[in-house]
């Protein structure tokens, strides 16, 4: 067993567990976007970043891939963590306003304004669909194409392929396919429908 400090409490975790898994076990909520228990870890959305203090040095790291270590101190909701998550939510919403998951996160973290240039690209490139298709459906019909800001999820050569069985698993797992409560939003707009209630119930829209 590995012992470490998680949000001020001394906790024990199995060797090989990640911080995210340990936090879940102890009932501590860490938001995730590109993580799914049934899929390989991707560590790209960085929304699950937590503060890890090790050897007197504090740094942020994605909790979904960080294996627990003896003697570290982890803060899942410190000021530094919240500040980083707020910026990440703002960044994601500026390129993908019509995601209920993201809009709910915005309310939860008190993001009430988008200060970045907005454009609707309809995808946050979390890669859940790509991994779902390849790892669970054993198809590999979709993948990433292009690089950097031009990156997108597509079928090879942008052509409909026979490998796709239209099973819909990609749609099922997509965190962006469900519209926010406030209905279709323009780039830069925020739903904030439950902004007032987050104080009472910290996670009104999530399971």
């Amino acid at each position: 067993m590995v012992r470490f400090i998680l949000d001020g409490q001394s906790v024990e975790a199995e060797e090989g567990w990640t911080i995210l898994e340990t936090a879940k076990y102890y009932g501590i909520d860490i938001p995730t976007l590109c993580y799914h228990e049934g899929l390989s870890t991707y560590s790209a959305c960085r929304i699950c970043s937590v503060e890890i203090i090790r050897g007197g040095r504090s740094r942020l790291s994605a909790s979904c891939s960080y294996p627990v270590q003896e003697g570290i101190e982890v803060r899942t909701n410190s000021e530094r963590v919240r500040r980083a998550r707020k910026i990440l939510i703002e960044l994601l919403l500026s390129s993908c306003p019509n995601s209920r998951t993201l809009q709910c996160l915005a309310s939860e973290y008190g993001v009430t304004k988008i200060r970045f240039r907005a454009e609707d690209r309809g995808c946050i490139l979390c890669g859940l669909c790509v991994r779902m298709c390849e790892e669970q459906m054993q198809a590999g019909a979709i993948g990433f194409v292009y690089r950097g800001v031009g990156r997108e999820v597509a079928m090879p050569f942008h052509q409909r392929s026979d490998i796709c069985r239209e099973c819909g698993a990609c749609l099922y797992i997509c965190p962006v396919c469900e519209l926010p409560c406030g209905g279709p939003l323009q780039p830069g707009q925020l739903c904030n429908a439950c902004l007032d209630t987050v104080q009472l119930d910290p996670f009104p829209c999530r399971d």
């Binding site: 959305c45 891939s65 980083a84 910026i87 990440l88 490139l125 990433f144 292009y146 950097g148 990156r151």
Partner: protein, 619 residues
């Protein structure tokens, strides 16, 4: 060539080679580095060779085309050994004179010698040229002694002696200890102690007995070409370093990952590997020690991010070059999920030096925590552009003014950018910072792989930050959110500032965003990408403020913030600017003051540069 069976055969072969070479009274080393290449050194080399043959000098004079000598500003270069005379800026017209006067009669051609711009003194010997005099060229000096396509040259120059010593006189752990004592730190950028890496890879258990050592030659920083020059000019030294490292670690296979933009490097490298194979220095039972090791070349497709260790490994494996999280170290699970050790070209090239010289002599150069030398590519607005190798701990001022010869045309220094696109800009008042891994980090920059870009008063620091950000935005793989989305938004903000739309709130947002991108990005590219922004805001905030509050770019670079006008008093109506204007924005009669149409003007500045009467004013 015959297989070299043992250290003794290696030594006797070396002896024989040296005896064969005693016949040469003169050796002319023509620089074949990238800078001289662009200036026609190939033709000069061919002409020299032919002329020497025609004049019956084949037995006494050797003409050799080598790797980069370093002094690119003065190329094409040739050094005449054994006297060490440096000829600079040679043209094909100079060749007959060189053969006739220097090679046949032994006279020196004064016109081809370097003259010190400070005092006009003519300098004969390369070692006395100020550019070279202050350097410590432990690695680079071999370049001009060796034809990179000749293993014989390398062996005659003492090559593979360190390998023989390592294989036959040292235990693997002993080598790691030596490297540790020498204090060798990774030259690729982060300065991680090489021995620590080697140790963990040595300890790691290879399930199927295969471990890898890799050489990172994916040098992609704009303006940097140190690794290229080493690998292109002296490939065997890198191969020897990798062999010693592989023996210490217990590796069986090696890869050199080199970018496809370096075709000559790839060519020379493949020749070198074939020769090493033929000589039995690669392959099975090397020098009868029972040690087996082989190296393959993997040519990259051009992505900057593939210089990142995990992305590099993904690329060699044939997958998309994207980084992954490294909580399980690559020393345990790297390339093809096997224990892997990756070092940079320059790091590997240092290894034979440590084994040959011994740790004490090696560690005596440099500072306590950064030992040895470092090669920098000194570029930008500097008099002596080129590759410089200096002991660690030399100050930036010494490098820029004593070696680099200062800023051209009497302009003032503004900043020096170290560490490639992810490095930072260091201002004038920090020029006395000694160059080592830790001190550069303290001032908000980094050593990086060794790019050093000097900027003068005509450089706009906001525009520089925009330039590097644009580069990194292009080169981001797009996997993680902070790097993909964050860099793009940072670029939007900085474009707003350079185009006169910026606000002070945006400057705060830029800073806030930069810190989050640094803290949360997945790999080193994203984590260091905000450095140019953060360091320019830190040291040159007044320039940002000027852009935002006064809509002014003091360097006159940001086109949206400048305009050109003609002073009617000073204008003589010579029509020079009128004829040169590419968009026809200038009108006016001959001998009458001209006028610039602001709507048509593209702000290219050609009129400003051409006007002999200072009548064009930049506002």
């Amino acid at each position: 060539m015959a297989r070299i069976e043992s250290p003794a055969t290696l030594e006797s072969y070396r002896q024989r080679l040296m005896e064969e070479r005693e016949g040469y009274k003169t050796v002319v080393s023509v620089c074949g580095g990238p800078g001289c290449h662009a200036q026609n050194c190939n033709e000069i080399y061919d002409m020299l060779k032919n002329a020497a043959e025609k004049n019956g000098l084949t037995g006494t004079v050797k003409i050799r085309k080598t790797g980069c000598h370093g002094f690119c500003e003065m190329g094409p270069l040739a050094v005449i050994q054994p006297a060490g005379i440096l000829y600079k800026k040679i043209t094909s017209e100079d060749v007959p004179a060189i053969v006739e006067k220097t090679l046949i009669k032994g006279e020196i051609i004064e016109d081809l010698l370097y003259s010190d711009p400070d005092n006009g003194k003519i300098i004969e010997k390369e070692a006395e040229v100020p550019f070279y005099a202050k350097q410590k060229r432990l690695l680079m000096s071999s370049n001009q002694m060796i034809d990179p396509t000749s293993i014989e040259d390398y062996i005659a120059h003492g090559g593979y002696r360190a390998l023989a010593k390592a294989l036959h006189e040292m235990e693997p752990t002993e080598i790691i200890d030596e490297v540790e004592k020498a204090g060798l730190r990774g030259r690729g950028g982060a300065g991680f102690p090489a021995a620590s890496k080697w140790k963990s890879c040595h300890k790691a258990i290879a399930k199927d007995g295969i471990k890898y050592v890799l050489c990172n030659a994916d040098e992609g920083d704009p303006g940097a070409y140190m690794d290229r020059s080493l690998l292109e000019g002296n490939p065997h030294q890198v191969i020897e370093g990798m062999l010693i490292g592989a023996y210490a670690i217990g590796a069986t296979d090696g890869y050199i990952y080199v970018r496809h933009e370096y075709p000559l490097t790839v060519e020379n490298l493949i020749v070198a590997l074939d020769q090493a194979h033929e000589a039995g220095l690669l392959g099975k039972d090397i020098l009868s020690s029972g040690f087996n090791f082989d190296i393959q070349v993997s040519v990259g497709g051009g992505a900057f991010v593939c210089g990142e260790s995990t992305a590099l490994m993904a690329s060699i494996e044939g997958r998309i070059g994207e980084p992954r999280v490294k909580h399980i170290h690559t020393a345990e699970k790297g390339l093809f999920k096997r224990p892997t050790n990756l070092n940079n070209v320059e790091t590997w090239a240092n290894v034979p030096l440590i084994i040959n010289q011994g740790t004490e002599k090696y560690a005596a150069v440099g500072t306590e925590n950064s030992t040895g030398t470092k090669i920098f590519s000194l570029v930008g607005t500097i008099n002596n552009t080129g590759l410089v190798e200096v002991p660690m701990g030399m100050t930036l001022r010494e490098i820029i003014y004593d070696i680099g010869g200062g800023i051209p045309e009497g302009r003032t220094f503004k900043a020096v950018q170290t560490g490639g696109p992810s490095g930072g800009c260091i201002p004038e008042d920090l020029l006395d910072t000694p160059v080592d891994f830790d001190r550069l980090y303290d001032v908000g920059s980094m050593m990086g792989s060794g790019g050093m870009i000097v900027m003068d008063e005509n450089t706009c620091m906001v525009d520089i930050a925009r330039y590097f950000l644009n580069f990194l935005c292009d080169e981001s793989c797009g996997k993680c959110v902070p790097c993909r989305e964050g860099l793009k938004q940072m670029l939007y903000i900085i474009e707003d500032i350079t185009e006169g739309r910026g606000t002070m709130e945006q400057l705060d947002l830029l800073r806030e965003l930069a810190e989050v991108v640094r803290d949360t990005s997945l790999c080193g590219l994203g984590q260091t990408a905000p450095n140019p922004i953060l360091s320019t805001i830190k040291y040159f905030e007044d320039e940002y403020r000027e852009h935002i509050e006064e809509h002014k770019c003091r360097a006159g670079v940001c086109k949206a913030l400048i305009s050109f006008e003609i002073d009617p008093e000073a204008c003589t109506g010579c029509r020079r600017c009128l004829k040169a204007c590419p968009v026809g924005a200038i009108s006016g009669e001959k001998k009458e003051p001209h006028l610039i149409d602001q709507d048509k003007c593209e702000k290219c500045g050609i009129c400003y540069e051409l006007c002999e009467f200072d009548a064009v004013i930049r506002k």
